[in-house]
């Protein structure tokens, strides 16, 4: 049964790790030795009553209405990350272990979502040589492009649109970048084979109801299953470009993590190259974190983010949130990539 403990652990593969789990994470592929060379992550069902709270809160995120969405604090060699009313996690990076304590009555889909899309990305964000950003990503002409934006702005819809047009998708929400020492560059890593979509996106993309499952109890988003006719990338590839979604005026209010909209855009999609400070800020805002104040983490993150800003191309992308525009958005992105291919190669990291 999903979200409940079993005597025998489940084993999956994700981002090169073997996930040894007390939970049924049906979205993931079963573990295969060849695909688990980064090590193991242990996912344990636990009770949070003994978890110690430190004095210092390391990070907190609030919803647009001011309610607390997530907080984390140092605790016994790791972090406790709490999603009030939903679930708490104790994340122990040295042991590559996540303890999960769901609140009573919280459904399995919500727990699985919080494990896959919050707890594991935040654990990996603590690993040197890794960075996890809130972005969707697809492969276009041998290059990986990422789409950055707030929840509800359309990252998943854009990724699903590209996937429906035959472009392999790497992720719809959590993009893991891993440093490849031999290639001296950051590789975007494929996540798992599912996309989360709003009902109107499901309709617009023509996805059958039978290919969908509940995403989380608090959202009308649906999660696509293996029946959806999307192509998922099998291997990592260099991240070459990022498109940052401009404020669209259409964030979806029922999504608890959706930010406030800033401005409307009407008419054909527009792309604009971002200045360095804009690109850096967009990346910095997209990072999955457990601790915003730890000096060592911030030093490492600064090096990574400035390096990415120096080597990846960034555009702002504004489009009217009508599905009829998606082909034009696709063309705008591809045209921008092609036009920039005539520019000198961006600096390679030393």
């Amino acid at each position: 049964m999903k979200g409940t403990q079993r005597e025998t652990s489940f084993q999956y593969q994700l981002w090169g790790y073997r996930i040894i789990s007390d939970f049924d994470l049906g979205e993931l592929e079963p573990a295969a030795d060849d695909n688990c060379q980064s090590g193991s992550i242990h996912l344990i069902l636990a009770a949070d009553k003994d978890w110690v709270r430190a004095d210092r809160r390391a990070l907190e995120y609030h919803l647009a209405n001011g309610d607390l969405w997530q907080e984390s604090w140092n605790a016994g060699g790791g972090y406790v990350s709490r999603f009030p009313g939903l679930c708490s996690f104790r994340i122990l990076p040295d042991q590559m272990r996540i303890e999960c304590a769901p609140q009573p009555g919280i459904g399995s889909s919500t727990i699985v979502h919080l494990i896959l899309d919050h707890a594991i990305p935040r654990l990996l964000s603590l690993k040197p040589g890794s960075l996890v950003i809130h972005a969707s990503a697809v492969q276009v002409e041998d290059e990986v492009i990422a789409v950055l934006g707030q929840s509800g702005q359309g990252k998943s819809t854009l990724a699903a649109w590209f996937a429906s047009q035959g472009f392999p998708i790497l992720t719809d929400d959590c993009l893991l970048l891993r440093w490849h020492e031999a290639a001296r560059q950051w590789l975007a890593q494929p996540s798992y084979g599912s996309v989360r979509l709003w009902p109107d996106s499901v309709d617009a993309l023509g996805i059958e109801e039978s290919a969908l499952r509940e995403f989380a109890h608090y959202s009308s988003k649906k999660r696509t299953g293996k029946q959806a006719d999307f192509r998922f990338a099998a291997e990592g590839a260099p991240l070459k470009a990022c498109f940052v979604l401009a404020g669209l005026g259409n964030s979806i209010p029922e999504d608890p993590t959706a930010g406030n909209s800033e401005q409307q855009h009407c008419g054909p999609p527009k792309v604009r190259r971002l200045a360095v400070n804009e690109a850096f800020l967009a990346l910095a805002q997209a990072v999955f974190r457990l601790d915003a104040e730890d000096e060592q983490i911030n030093r490492r993150e600064f090096e990574i983010l400035t390096g990415l800003t120096d080597t990846v191309r960034f555009w702002s992308l504004a489009y009217e949130r009508k599905y009829d525009w998606l082909p034009a958005v696709q063309s705008a992105i591809i045209n921008a990539l092609r036009a920039s291919s005539h520019e000198p190669e961006k600096r390679k990291l030393p």
Binding site: A275, V276, N277, F280, L281, A284, A292, E293, E295, N298, R299, F302, E303, T306, T309, D310
Partner: protein, 91 residues
Amino acid sequence: MPLPEKFQIPKCVLSRTVGTETILLNLDTSTYHSLNSVGGRFWTLILQGKDFDQALAALRDEYDVEPGKLEADLHELCEELQSLSLLQRAA
């Protein structure tokens, strides 16, 4: 004759030049800042141990800008950087 103004960059401040801009991180406040090309060049000169007058002279040579305006802009920049604890007067 007054001593030249000498500044130093606190150990808690990291910087890196990317293209024409310089990104700064204050580790004590966990906040990022950026400088344009002129500000970034000034920052580099301070990092190299130049005092204010030496940095000003170097920038006058490098940029086609009215000298009085450049000096006023740099004074303003120094004040702003100090207010953000990104720069401090050397002892």
